[in-house]
């Protein structure tokens, strides 16, 4: 995992984590539309696939990896006018990579966070029985 600003190595995934990520590619659960969002973290992940040169991906939201062939360190998917860049591709995945990065790097950019920690008590409060008097 490389820092976008300095391009220095920040962390390396373990073989087990790499295997989790590999499996996640086949388990996309939904799509995110996040071309107007900041990336969750200022990092790219360098992936090594046998038989191919290493390539860089941005983790975009919870469920997508973005590849920018022309500018690998640039997370943007559009030009200033909103026109999709032709060198950008997105791959739908499950949330494995996102959760791994959250574990390694801490909370993502604030677009993805709640303003304060979710009040679990409020969320799991028992639902009143509608039939009760």
């Amino acid at each position: 995992m490389l820092d976008v600003g300095t391009r220095r190595l920040r962390a390396t995934l373990t073989p087990q984590q790499v295997e989790q990520v590999r499996r996640s590619v086949a388990h996309a659960t939904g799509r995110d539309s996040l071309t107007a969002s900041s990336p969750p973290w200022d990092v790219v992940v360098r992936l090594h696939v046998p038989g191919r040169p290493p390539f860089l991906v941005h983790v975009v939201g919870g469920q997508a990896l973005r590849l920018n062939a022309a500018e690998p360190y640039a997370a943007r998917a559009h030009d200033a006018t909103g026109r999709r860049l032709s060198d950008v591709e997105e791959l739908a995945v499950d949330s494995t990579m996102y959760d791994l990065l959250a574990l390694l790097l801490g909370p993502p950019a604030k677009e993805y966070r709640t303003p304060q920690a979710i009040d679990i008590g409020q969320l799991t409060r028992p639902v009143p029985d509608a039939a009760a008097p």
Partner: protein, 431 residues
């Protein structure tokens, strides 16, 4: 023969509207117009140097109107023209008054037709610090659509309520340049009224992840959401009921629009001893902005909006935990079966669809920036549904920000079934 600039303003019924003040204002000079008998509000151009001016008119029930004009030399005399495109509400004519001898005059008459009720649309374009999008383009496309009464936001033409008319002033706060730009509709394109730097310096646009840059953006006396609030409050004081729309095109999060991505000082941030107060250096919108403490002119802010006025935060609401809860609830077989959701902090919660529904209804939605503004102002405020990101799209020369209803089909279905919320043409819904 002497040249005079004359201003005549009429309302929608043809009644004369009398300015309380009028002046030609240029770099360091001001030439006041006065009410000349039989001629109306006028100034002799002999004493006015050729050059660029604002023709500032103070009219009843509106903020001063600054028309962009130029005084030009013509032969031995002078005339006045509009700079750029001429406003559609204006006419320019020259009339020779031949009383004979030295009293002969040429009157260069600026005629304006303005309804008594002022109308204004306020737009905000945040700085896209991470993606490089020009958010002024999205604001300008929306301005053009609101004038045309038609939008291409879905990719094809669809009718839209026309909310900008020839007399509507459109104000755009551009957080990248730090300027407020105002327009009136021209016959073609737009007449730029003025362009005014907010604060004393432009936004510092150094790399957004650099802490020193973030701090400078916080500390600089530069454009802030408070300039926007103050402008709307000014409208509320001078022209109650004038604001038809207040649209913000920017990054956004659950806590409000992110205009330059400032970080609150610790004392003002959640958990700080003054967390309910706005940080004076903060430039972004916050959910706490609408308390009377943070918005002392809240009554004027509220009065600015027209009956049926609308505000809209166009950017993302991509909160990961909210999206996971919504997807979990949408995929559950019924409202009472428990399912597990992994939260961003690593915890796992076990909830039912009914609990998620109650949580969104009672906690998530009411605590948003949109709901807080709506409560304070009593208008409909739209935003992206919690959990969803915003997309950008170019349709020909038009540029749109929207929420992709195809990608978020499952989530939209849940919001409609569980909370009765249906999206508008751009995928946003009212809070």
């Amino acid at each position: 023969m002497t040249d005079w600039l004359v201003v005549q303003v009429m309302d929608e019924r043809g009644g004369a509207v009398t300015p309380s003040a009028a002046a030609l204002e240029g770099a360091g000079v001001s030439h006041a117009l006065s009410d000349v008998a039989g001629q109306g509000w006028s100034v002799a151009l002999a004493g006015v140097a050729a050059g660029k001016y604002q023709l500032n008119l103070t009219l009843p029930q509106r903020l001063p109107l600054p028309l962009a004009v130029e005084v030009k030399a013509r032969g031995a005399g002078k005339l006045v023209v509009f700079r750029g495109k001429s406003p559609a509400i204006a006419t320019l004519s020259s009339q020779a008054v031949t009383a004979g001898g030295p009293a002969s005059r040429t009157l260069h008459v600026v005629g304006l037709k303005l309804p008594k009720q002022h109308s204004e649309v306020v737009l905000v374009a945040g700085w896209d610090y991470s993606g490089g999008a020009d958010n002024t383009l999205y604001a300008k496309t929306w301005r053009d659509d609101l004038y045309a009464g038609q939008t291409f936001i879905s990719g094809k033409a669809a009718p839209l309520t026309k909310q900008i008319h020839d007399h509507t002033v459109v104000s755009l706060f551009d957080f990248k340049s730090g300027q407020r730009i105002r327009w009136l509709k021209a016959r073609q394109d737009w007449h730029e009224l003025d362009r005014v730097l907010q604060g004393s310096v432009p936004t510092h646009t150094g790399y957004y992840k650099d802490a020193a840059n973030t701090q400078k953006r916080h500390d600089d006396d530069a454009i802030s959401i408070r300039h926007v609030y103050d402008y709307i409050a000014d409208l509320g004081a001078a022209a109650p009921g004038s604001v038809q729309r207040f649209d913000i095109f920017s990054h956004a999060w659950a806590g409000g629009p992110i205009l330059v991505d400032t970080v609150e000082d610790a004392v003002f941030a959640p958990g700080g001893s003054r967390s309910t107060e706005r940080d004076p250096g903060d430039k972004d919108g916050r959910t706490k902005d609408f308390s009377t403490r943070n918005m002392p002119r809240r009554a004027q802010f509220k009065r600015a909006f027209a009956a049926g006025g609308i505000a809209k935060v166009w950017g993302c609401f991509a909160t990961t935990d909210y999206r996971r809860l919504v997807r979990g609830a949408a995929q559950a077989p019924n409202k009472t079966t428990k399912f597990k959701v992994q939260m961003l902090d690593g915890s796992e919660v076990e909830v039912t669809g009914q609990q998620v529904e109650n949580y969104f209804k009672n906690s998530v939605l009411p605590e948003t920036y949109m709901a807080q503004m709506g409560d304070a102002v009593s208008i409909k405020v739209y935003g992206a549904p919690p959990g969803m990101g915003a997309d950008l799209r170019a349709v020909g020369r038009r540029n749109y920000m929207f929420v992709n209803q195809s990608d978020y089909r499952l989530e939209y279905r849940w919001y409609k079934d569980a909370l009765g919320l249906a999206p508008d043409e751009s995928g946003h819904f009212p809070f």
